[in-house]
Symmetry: C2
Subunit: 245 residues, 2 copies
């Protein structure tokens, strides 16, 4: 198929998917650029490739050829790529596994994306997004994950309701706080096998009522001159330490 | 002093400082919002506070009152703050100390900012920016550092020229690479006292000719499914590990 009109209904549909509302409604999303399209293909998520006329693509999926102008209209990138793909959302596993990262109101897409990437690097089984988190099919999140999102188990849930269930499964629920916490360098091996780590909003941290439900509290030792680390940095250091043997 | 005209020469000067060229020429820069203005004040860098008419400010520096519209014109923030400050650049120390972070062509302002913040947290003495790095007085960098930039020693230098000098001072120069490197969890205590860590560009890593000058190479152990971490994340984990006793 080839489309040359900017007013084509299919083009309009692709554009609508920039909004979370339509991504949720259609259960679809767009990925942009070679690397992400390839990762989405490997994960079996592509419904159709959207390709600039004249370009080639070896994937075994339907291809819609479009003009440069149409790609420029669909993309959220400043320099439009030659390839995009319409994908269906990944089916996530209900079982969360033994190593869980829980995110409470993370709002910056770049932060969420790098946290998803670090989670994969340090063997996290599932990521739980609480209410108020940025949508993980947001184009900026997808880019920051470098495609790792397609190979991660990510679910949304109400955190307050989830914690008691985790505790029943003997998963230790960790929060972070500066005072009267445990130095992360001293967590015992056996407490690194089944855990859930809760990290909170960029400005305000984890909600107080959620923090109170935690079993233990951790802190990262650092210079007193610094109030805090960026949340994606802190999360990655914590996950690195949990992954340490 | 009070300014109400958008065409005022002083307002034009403030606006020009959005560009690196003028920041270099004037040796000045603008900080935006309460938190950063406060940190700049603590560091003694403020030449004058730029305050919205009707607001109050207790700092002992000249104040220029301006309209909301003028602030909106000067600021790079989407929601204009009520306070800005014109600052002079910090004088940096020539001596780099024993713990040095060297950055080769880091281009993302958010990455540079969080790396500066993490450096302070993990007791780095100086940060060296090689050619091609984003300007550290860029407004987005300033914001991401959360003010830590005013309390850090940051210099620019040609990296190839600097490395031999560091080696003469018995500073171990570390690069990172995935193959045939040292697992960062196994660095010996005595090799954590005097070191320079070189981190490279978001897409391409450290330049080959610089990498070849390093004494040793490090890697962060992680899942094979992940190609790499975000550079600010990798840097912070490395610095955290160097700071580990």
């Amino acid at each position: 198929m080839q489309i040359t009109s900017l007013e084509n209904e299919r083009v309009k549909k692709y554009c609508r998917l920039k909004e979370k509302k339509y991504r949720d409604q259609e259960n679809q999303f767009i990925v942009e650029g070679n690397h992400l399209v390839e990762e989405a293909y490997r994960a079996g998520l592509i419904d159709e490739v959207i390709l600039e006329i004249g370009e080639e693509c070896s994937f075994n999926v339907p291809i819609v050829f479009v003009t440069k102008e149409i790609i420029a209209k669909i993309t959220t990138l400043e320099s439009p790529p030659t390839i995009l793909a319409l994908c269906h959302k990944k089916e996530m596993k209900e079982s969360l596994g033994n190593k869980i990262l829980i995110l409470d109101e993370i709002q910056d897409p770049g932060n969420l994306g790098t946290m998803i990437r670090s989670s994969k690097a340090f063997h996290i089984d599932s990521i739980v997004l609480g209410e108020g988190c940025v949508d993980f099919y947001n184009p900026k999140v997808l880019r920051s994950t470098q495609g790792m999102i397609f190979h991660s188990n990510i679910v949304t849930a109400k955190i307050e309701g989830l914690i008691p269930k985790l505790k029943k499964e003997n998963i230790v629920v960790y929060g972070t706080r500066v005072e009267s916490g445990i130095d992360i360098r001293t967590i015992k091996k056996e407490k690194k096998e089944k855990f859930a780590l809760i990290m909170g909003n960029e400005g305000n941290g984890v909600h107080q009522e959620i923090l109170e439900l935690c079993d233990e509290y951790l802190y990262i030792p650092m210079s007193e001159e610094v109030e805090s680390l960026n949340v994606a940095i802190a999360t990655s250091i914590l996950l690195y330490e949990f992954d340490r043997r």
